[in-house]
Structures are given as C-alpha cells and as structure tokens.
Symmetry: C2
DNA sequence: GCTTGTGAAATCTTTCACAGCA
DNA sequence: TGCTGTGAAAGATTTCACAAGC
C-alpha cells in the first residue's frame, strides 16, 4: 500500500493526527493506533488504514515512533518546507489570522497583508505592515507568495482571487461568504464561519452528536 | 422522501445552498437545480437529491421558488429563530468573531464575551463588553446562551467546554487547536485554521483541485 | 420542452476481523 | 502477547439516467 493516490478523507485527517502527535510527543516516544485514535477523535482501525496509505511506518507489537511518524506525515502533506502566506483584507479577521500563532508553529510564514482601504494601509499587523491592494500584482511575485488568504467582503472575493492567481499563488483559503472560482491548478478551500454555526444549529435541534469540520 | 433522517453530507451543504439562494434572490424568483448547483459549486443531481430530503418543493419544468426554498431550508436547519451566542476568549480571533457581520445576518446574536485576562475585562467588543471568565456559570444561564464559541488557547479549551456544558449550551464551536470532549447531547464542531492550511498544502503539491471545507 | 424527483449503479469511506510479525 | 497492516464486508455518498409532471 504505497505510491498510490491518498483518499481525500484521509488527507483531511492527517493534519489532525499531526496535531495529536505533537501533543503526545512529550509523553512517550511511541504511540499505538488506539491512543492516537482517541486523541484525534476517530476509530483505531481508521488510523491504521489512513497511515497505511503513507507506507509501513509502524512496528507490530509496539506502535508508531512519534517523531518519525510526524516527519512522514509532514513530508506527505508538503508542510516540511516553510510556505509563504499573504492575507488580503486587514479587517478584524485578517488581523486575527495575521497574528495567529497556529500558523507560524506549523511552518507557515505570513509575509504580507493587503487592504484597499487607505486608512488601514501602513498599519502594523503582526510582523508585516499593511500594503495597498493595488500593489498585490508586484508584491506577490516579488515575495514569492505560495498561499493567499481572502478575508475581504464577499463582493471583492472573486476579483481578489483572480489577482492572487495572476500573482502566482498555488493555494487560496477563502473566508469570504461566497463561492469563488479558480483555475483547476490552484488549490482552493472555503471556510464560512456562518455556515459552521448553521450546521451546528441543525445538530442542536436533532439532539444528535455530530461531526468535526475540516477534519 | 420525507420525514426521514437527513444524511450528514446533505446537512453540510444546506447552509451553502442558503447562501447561494440569498445571492440569487435578487435576480429571479425561481432557480433551477443546475443554476443553484453552479452557484454552490456542486453537481445538479446532488442539489436535487439533497433538496428531495426536505420534501418536494420544486416545480417540474420550472425550478424552485427561491424565497420558499430558503424558508424551508432555514426551518430544517433550525436557524429560523434567533440563537444566542457567547464567545470565550477575547483575543484577536474572539474579537474578529464578535464583530463578524456574517453571524448577525444569519440569525445569530452575540450576547456575551468572556476572557480570563483582567486586562481585557470591561473592554468593548462588538455590542458586548468583555466579562470575567469566572462569571460564565451565572451569565450563561441568565442570558440563556445556546451556542458557545471557544477561542481560548488550547490549554484552556477543555475546561472552557466543560463550563459551557454546565452552563446549558447545546452547541460548541471550537477554534482552539486541540480536540475537546463533550457529552453526546451537545453538538460539537472543531475548526482548526492551521489544519485548513495544511490540507491546502497537500493539494498544492499534488497539483489537483480539491475540496471545500465545512461544506 | 424543460426540469424535478428518484431508483439503480458506481464510487468512496468506514469498520470488522484476523493473519503476520516484533 | 500485543499491535500493525490489510483484505473483505458494510455503509454512506455521489452520479447516472429516465419516468413523471408542469
């Protein structure tokens, strides 16, 4: 079981395993599928099946070596080299993301922030100062940005995505509450915080336990 | 096809349809499954199958009446009555969520914010002022909070969730980068922004189009 | 003629259960 | 003995294709 395409459902869980392994790394140098499953909130057979797609990195009778497994998952996810992130839209959410520790600790570096509001330009956000949105075409190329994060209003999301694509980014994470369209060679993910609450509302009334998002 | 359990995959798409319908409502009073599918980024057969779980609300040869369909989806999701939200953790992300327009416009009302840092208490965030975390047990009950949003550090997430549960919330949306455990009668959803970027990274290198999150 | 609603087929995902190995 | 790795079974989801109805 190796060298083949990894199922999408598995890809969505790999970062969760990575997070659970980071937590577990201080306790023991090895971990069983059962313990990892518990920490990640899934079934042990699922963990073994998922990990088998990466290769045979466990030891029967013992478990998985935590550090080595983290390395293998990171490598497969492509997060073992530092990726460069630009955030477009320096409103509350954009500022929150720019200063969010969870990015830096996982190998993502916020190298630029943009806003079209002249009142926000020049303002310091995290380790960057906000640049005018009009400079995106040049700056994206110059700073070799890999990932664009869209936190603009819905009305500006599609045009922002277009500029990001023209600027050579290979991934877009869209927080604007609208569907954007990009060429198929660009990886796109949409996160709508309102949608998340609406899904919760459904499970609230049906009194049934759900479900993890983006996992 | 009615009166039965709605598949989880369908529930996750209903809010996206709702968003697409809101956008489309100004153009035409009716919409075909094909157009709705395009706006939501899915297949037309999927739209018809999903909507058939709610009942027979379309007209053959014509399509779906936009306003009526929105009403039916909202009703089924349980977002047709105003739900009350409390945000725990008034850091950048907590503040961003408290002032996020996408909640209010979808029938969610942020009625309280909490933080354990005395330096943040009393500070105005959105329409609320930050309360001490120690007052949560009383305030949650008093304000009849339905949904708790956790934006604390990972280390405080589980204890925060416990207090929210004791305070009678029926849903928890967890942004802390750790798995939390709640009784099964509480609906839980985890959103980890770092995880979202890691999933994107995978599709970046595999040069294949993904996938929408929480959708 | 155009579009819905839905069985049936195809595909994907999860879970089981156990052989295989340290 | 204990735990991984994996076929096979079970279950869920998506897509097809077309009858039914406006």
């Amino acid at each position: 079981m190796i060298g083949h395409r990894i199922p999408e459902a598995t890809v969505n869980r790999l970062p969760v395993y990575l997070r659970a392994l980071a937590e577990a790394s201080s306790s023991s140098p090895t971990i069983s599928s059962e313990l990892l499953a518990e920490k990640a909130g899934v079934n042990a057979a699922q963990v073994r099946k998922d990990l088998s797609h990466l290769g045979s990195y466990g030891t029967r009778g013992v478990g998985y070596e935590v550090g080595y497994l983290m390395h293998q998952i990171s490598r497969r996810l492509g997060v073992d080299n530092e990726l460069r992130v630009a955030i477009v839209g320096a409103g509350n959410l954009g500022q929150a993301l720019a200063t969010y520790g969870g990015f830096a600790s996982r190998g993502f570096q916020v190298v630029a922030t943009f806003d079209s509001d002249p009142g926000k330009v020049g303002h310091r956000v995290g380790t960057t100062s906000v640049r005018p949105a009009s400079t995106m075409p040049d700056v994206l190329l110059e700073l070799k940005v890999d990932i664009g994060v869209v936190t603009t209003p819905a009305s500006a999301a599609q045009s922002t995505a277009d500029v990001l694509v023209a600027g050579g980014v290979s991934c877009i994470l869209n927080f604007a509450p609208t569907t954007v369209v990009v060429p198929e060679y660009v990886a796109l993910r949409q996160v709508d915080l309102g949608v998340e609450l609406q899904i919760l509302s459904f499970y609230r009334q049906s009194e049934v336990a759900p479900v993890a998002a983006g996992e």
